[in-house]
């Protein structure tokens, strides 16, 4: 079911001395419940601009974003309700959690703010959320961010995003700052949540391999334009657009490397 539509959105910025630059050029995409959409592109491709427009930090120059077919309210209760519906998970779990507050505080705040549960049930709800992201409530609930590992911190950030019971999750490079051996765990968690809670997930990344494995559909963004879109395997395994092909050729692919170069490798660099 389509929850959110980004409909022909263009975003331009005025740049001193250089006229206007186009950050997004006629971008359309939809987020559907229970499905993950991968948004792939290099730095400067417009990935973060999309995230900003989805969170209403920026407004499109032209085009529209619609939730359940209705335009997003610009202010007031409507905007607050929208922000409760769509939550972000950021790249840097160090920066997105306040070092002075405990895990409990981080999770209780959105619960109170959006009056998700009565005050008497706050503690239960916090524990349920921690459980949901596979953290042991008893051991982490009263810790502060610096007492947690990077992966635990990102799980807390995800739990916080889930607190307001959103329908959409925008994950902007959620694992690129985490250690490699825990990345898949966090991505698997996001995938599970998407499927089990019927969340529509936008997975923004520069990494083609994880985009392929964790997305149902992939959009490739180059200089503000969607150059290719389609089911994940089609886009990555059989790319049509020259830019997508270039990206794929540049991404490390040991499988292909050893298949094609068996016996002759070495001094490859």
């Amino acid at each position: 079911m389509t929850v959110l539509e980004v409909d022909h959105v263009t975003k331009t910025y005025a740049v001193r001395g250089a006229g206007r630059i186009t950050a997004l050029d006629d971008v359309s995409l939809t987020l559907e419940s229970g499905r993950t959409t991968g948004l792939v592109g290099q730095s400067g491709s417009g990935k973060s601009t999309i995230a900003k427009i989805l969170t209403q930090l920026e407004t499109p120059t032209s085009g529209e974003v619609r939730l359940d077919g209705q335009p997003i309210p610009r202010r007031g209760a409507g905007l607050r309700a929208y922000r409760q519906t769509l939550r972000m998970v950021f790249q840097d779990p160090f920066a997105s959690l306040n070092p002075y507050h405990s895990v409990r505080y981080h999770l209780e705040r959105p619960l109170r703010l959006h009056r998700v549960v009565p005050d008497a049930e706050l503690d239960d709800e916090v524990r349920r959320l921690l459980d949901r992201v596979h953290l042991e409530p008893g051991t982490v609930i009263d810790r502060r961010p610096h007492e947690l590992s990077g992966g635990q911190r990102q799980r807390v950030a995800i739990a916080r995003a889930l607190a307001s019971r959103p329908r959409l999750l925008v994950a902007d490079e959620p694992v690129s700052m985490l250690d490699v051996s825990i990345r898949l765990g966090v991505l698997n968690l996001l995938a599970d949540l998407g499927r089990e809670e019927g969340l529509g997930v936008l997975y923004i990344t520069h990494d083609l391999a994880t985009a392929r494995h964790f997305s149902d559909e992939i959009l490739v963004l180059n200089q503000g334009r969607v150059v290719e879109r389609g089911p994940a395997d089609d886009v990555i395994l059989r790319p049509q657009d020259p830019y997508t092909r270039e990206l794929r050729a540049a991404s490390p692919d040991p499988e292909k490397h050893f298949a094609s170069a068996s016996g002759t490798h070495g001094g490859a660099l």
Binding site: R16, S43, G44, H257, S260, T264, A268
Partner: protein, 358 residues
Amino acid sequence: MTAVQPQPQPVQDALEVGTTATTVVRGRSRIPWRFLAGRAAFYLFTLWAAITINFFLPRMMKGDAVDQYLSRNRNVSPEAADALRTLLGLDTDRSLLQQYLDYVGLLLRGDLGVSLLHGLRPVTEVIGQALPWTVGLVGFATVISFTIGTIGGAVVGWRRGSRLDGLIPVTTFLGTIPYFWLGLLAIAVFSVNLGWFPIGKAYGVGMRPEWSAEFVGQVVHHGTLPAATIVIASLGGWMLGMRNMMLTVLDEDYVMVAQAKGMPNRRVLWRYAARNAVLPQIQSFALSIGFIVGGTIVMEMVFSYPGVGKLLLDATNAKDYALMQGVFLVITLSVLVANVLADVAYAFLDPRTRQTEA
């Protein structure tokens, strides 16, 4: 083998290859006119605000200069008092706006009025006499203190953990001693007990300012003690500031890279670490220049030094508005000039600020 083979690929302009989100700026930075104009407008506005406040402040105080003057000179007739008020621009029959416009007009012509305290001599002349003493003595002391403190701080920071670290608490302690106490102590020890230096004033009684060896010797002799106390009092701040910046900079990657490059320690210390650590120091130095003129009242009191600080104190006591306004104006101007200098120095020393667009 994707990594090796020089794949057929159009040769790209080296400038275009490898751009990320950072904008590539070609060649040397241009002159940032827009930035300069912005700064100029900011300084002009500040100047105007300072002049305006300067005009209103004395008028908000109770009693005027003429009342004060009358209380000191009883034989002045009421007519003469009115004439004085007109002369000083204090006549009440003119609107405040009119007075303000007159004030600004006179200011633009370099006319700051006359000083009641100094026998109706032009304020510009009175200040002109005091200014060189303050600027010369305090300026010299500030430069010495900054130089010693910064170089010392750089060395102490570089050799952290060594015995040199002990210098920091000592100089900081000296800086926390109340200045008047330090000054009086210096006079008591070196002037009164040991008799090495004169007790006060800028030069001996009976001397006239002239460019003679004897007179210059007198000035140096009289200035040593006040200058030394200023250096002692301010050295700790410079040293601590520089040392702390050094500790920050020494953790920067380019210092590690310089060491990996096999640079000798002296080169790493001065060309890489200190060169970067000195940037904030330069800025506070320029700002402290601005306070040379106004910030030395205590020194000039303790050493009866004929500078601007003493002038201001006397003018305030006597409610000599024209002189007060004049001194304030000079202080304001010097702070502004110092800020401009700080901007220029920073732009000169830090290439990153020369860039207008991110």
